[in-house]
Amino acid sequence: MTARQTQRALTRGRPLLYAAYRQEQAIWNTTTKKVVTLLLFTIALSLPIFLNRDLMGVASLVVVYAIGGIGLNIISGYAGQISLGHAFFMGMGAYTAAVIGGVSTNLVRGYELDLLIWLPLAGLVPAVIGWLIAPLAARVRGLYLAILTLGILFIGEHVFKEATWMSGGSGIGRAPTTVVLLGFDIFQRRTIVGLDISAIGMFYLFSLLILVVLGILARNLARSRQGRAFAAVRDRDIAAEIMGVPLMQTKRLAFTISSFYAGIAGALLTVVLGFTTPERWNLLLSIDFLAVVLIGGVATISGPIAGAMFVVLLPRLIEWGARELPFISTTVGSNQFLNVFQLQRILFGAMIVLFLVLEPRGLYGIWIRVRNYFKAWPFSY
């Protein structure tokens, strides 16, 4: 009997018994996880068949927010370094992509190059910038780090506004990059195995693929020696240093990788939105992503995905729900007490506060509680 067969024989019927360290550390360490992941992926893959273009836009936004959320979770969740500069790195990625892959106009520059060139660069350029400014950020922590990254954000916003060849300028903006892979325009309505898929549906599938790849990479990173170093730095940096974890290098790596993810998310985000202005990359966007991480679940991969769904879908759910409430106006400009757009903002703020106070582990925490309840059933008390 080989070691693997022994392991299988041992664990059959005992789903939580790990007979090997490798098995415990596997990405999908239980059968349930495997099945659920596969099921969710299948559902996600089939969405373009069922949803209209509008909802596909929302679904694409969820995917892009999830990528950005995972990126922020690497620096803030796993490595414990608060960053308010996420929007800046996203903007950097967006403009890198737009300049390399976008179309030139009389206002902005664009070289219309292939996705194979702009997509990696959309991640690498912010990553290099992140790597360069990380030594500054690595010297401070907590509140000081928040302020420092806020400073980076403001400098970035100013640069974006002034560099009109890149951004189109304040109040004007520019179109995003084209999404052409080796001559194949991804943002184009297509018929695939007899199914009519809209342009945004095609882009959603592409973004989903990127999310899966980047999600698995992030999960692998978290399981690696570096991932454990991140956690050690987060939990107590001095202790980590005493144990031999190079503090600067670890923080720098987290910053760089997080910036890479942010850049990719930024580039994809502009395609989903269809247009981008320099004002977009501001503090509010960074806070959106903090909400994705905090509501979803800190230091997890599935957390930001759930968080992204929550943050993106909440406004839409409120909009639908508000149509049923007579005291809420669904049109702007009427004299009713509240309109749906105001309600969205109020509820969004309230939800963030409630999560921080009542369930700091976010949606992931709620899921763990639900799971444990059923695991222990009928002795769930």
Binding site: N106, S170, I172, G173, I200, L273
Partner: protein, 438 residues
């Protein structure tokens, strides 16, 4: 066996459902996206005619915090009343109009505009309003793909030329560029002093850019020095207009053409008046969207009354035409708080004409709607002369304007000094391409 016969039953049922679905599809084949056989969710004016289907029109406007929000809300109201009147008259060839369900506030932000467009596009037949030039430009490529036509809330010259507007924008009246020329022509003849040097202040992009291009073309044609385009932004973006004021004072221009929002107009005129420059040494000519009667309640009111002249494409609410009478009947006894109401009303005539033309061809699809726009004749019930869309803009564009001056006594805040005027420079201008953004 049991399983297999159940499988068969299921397959047959599925096939049946598919056939029914296909049959339903055939029934509605002539109705494109945004047109339904079912009654409207929110018919304009709350008027739903029995047996009428519904045409859904979208609105992308500035309704809360953007620089044109006070105007945007009134523009929307004007549009609602326009279509309420159509619905009250029995609808449009068997369809009522719904203009509320797909109204979105985009805050004069091109990105929000694009995002909102993508949200409502799958459900609308056309855009009854797309407010702003840079915002509308942001969605033009998508509109082109989706065959969506739009009534612009703005007067960029590019809207008149198919290479810029892609034949999708149905404008009313002149363009900002012609507006500057007509206004300056009038000013040169009737203003308190001859124009020695003219400058333009405006938002970057093709609103301010078009206003400035008109001023520059006028200066060139009349041998007057042009003091340049001094760009500024809405206060929401730049905080204050101090930079613009400084630039105006440094430019040594005695007439400044403005292409900004109302609040920014008041701030610029007020601050220039308070700067210590001799009274009347710098006068202002404001494009259509620069004015809001509420400015007469601001501290800048005396400066505006003394220094500001307004150019608009048509007479405001109190005009004499049949169209004006109709809008007064629709509005009721009061007067709208600004000229947005009349503008919103006027901008709907081309949309209505296009919808009627599409209905006449018995194909209510976006592609048909797009195809009927070129060469379409629009009757404005006398508010402005009848116009032909598309074709040769040099021939078809309306080159008349209305000149007004702030007046606290007038119900609209403006006294009309001259209406339906033409300008020699504007008339002689060869209008063969967009003045800006080409």
């Amino acid at each position: 066996m049991r399983t297999s016969s159940r499988g068969w039953r299921l397959a047959v049922a599925a096939l049946g459902v598919a056939f029914i679905a296909a049959a339903c599809g055939d029934d509605t084949a002539e109705l494109g996206t945004g047109v339904t056989e079912e009654p409207c969710e929110n018919p304009a004016g709350g008027v739903s005619n029995e047996a009428n289907g519904c045409i859904y029109l979208g609105i992308l406007s500035d309704l809360t915090v953007g620089p044109f929000a006070p105007l945007g809300v009134e523009i929307q109201r004007g549009q609602q009343d326009f279509w309420a009147r159509v619905n009250a008259d029995g609808g449009l060839d068997g369809f009522d109009i719904d203009i509320d369900t797909y109204t979105r506030d985009t805050e004069y932000n091109p990105q929000n505009h694009s995002q909102a467009y993508r949200q409502i596009e799958p459900n609308i037949f056309a855009l009854a309003q797309s407010l702003g030039t840079p915002t509308t430009e942001a969605i033009l490529p998508s509109m082109d793909e989706d065959d969506i036509i739009a009534g612009p809330a703005g007067w960029w010259s590019g809207f008149h030329f198919a290479d810029q507007s892609k034949g999708l924008i149905v404008p009313s009246g002149y363009s900002y560029c012609l507006e500057s020329m007509i206004g300056l022509d009038w000013f040169q003849e009737n203003g308190p002093a001859p124009i020695a040097k003219v400058a333009a202040v405006g938002y970057p992009g093709d609103y301010g850019g078009d206003v400035a291009a008109g001023a520059e073309l006028w200066a060139e044609a009349n041998g007057v020095e042009f003091g340049g385009f001094l760009p500024t932004g809405p206060n929401a973006l730049v905080g204050t207009q101090d930079e613009a004021v400084r630039a105006i004072l440094n430019s040594a221009a005695n007439v400044v053409v403005l292409g900004v929002g109302p609040a920014e107009t008041a701030e610029i005129v007020g601050k220039v008046a308070a700067s210590g420059a001799p009274v009347g040494s710098i006068l202002f000519l404001g494009a259509g969207p620069t004015w809001n009667p509420a400015l007469l309640g601001s501290p800048a009111a005396p400066a505006l009354v003394g220094l500001f002249t307004h150019v608009s494409p048509w007479e405001d609410f109190t005009g004499e035409s049949a169209g004006h009478e109709a809008m007064r009947a629709a509005f009721g006894d009061a007067t709208p708080i600004n000229a947005g109401y009349a503008a919103g009303w006027v901008w709907q005539y081309p949309i209505k004409a296009a919808l009627e033309a599409a209905a006449d061809s018995e194909s209510m699809t976006r592609a048909t709607l797009r195809s009927v726009v070129d060469g379409l004749t629009v009757d404005y019930e006398g508010i402005i002369p009848q116009a032909t869309l598309g074709g040769d803009p040099n021939e078809n564009v309306n080159r008349t304007a209305v000149i007004g001056r702030p007046d606290p006594e007038s119900p609209t805040g403006l006294t009309t000094l001259a209406s339906a005027i033409r300008g020699a420079t504007a008339d002689a201008f060869e209008y063969t391409q967009a003045c800006s953004g080409a």
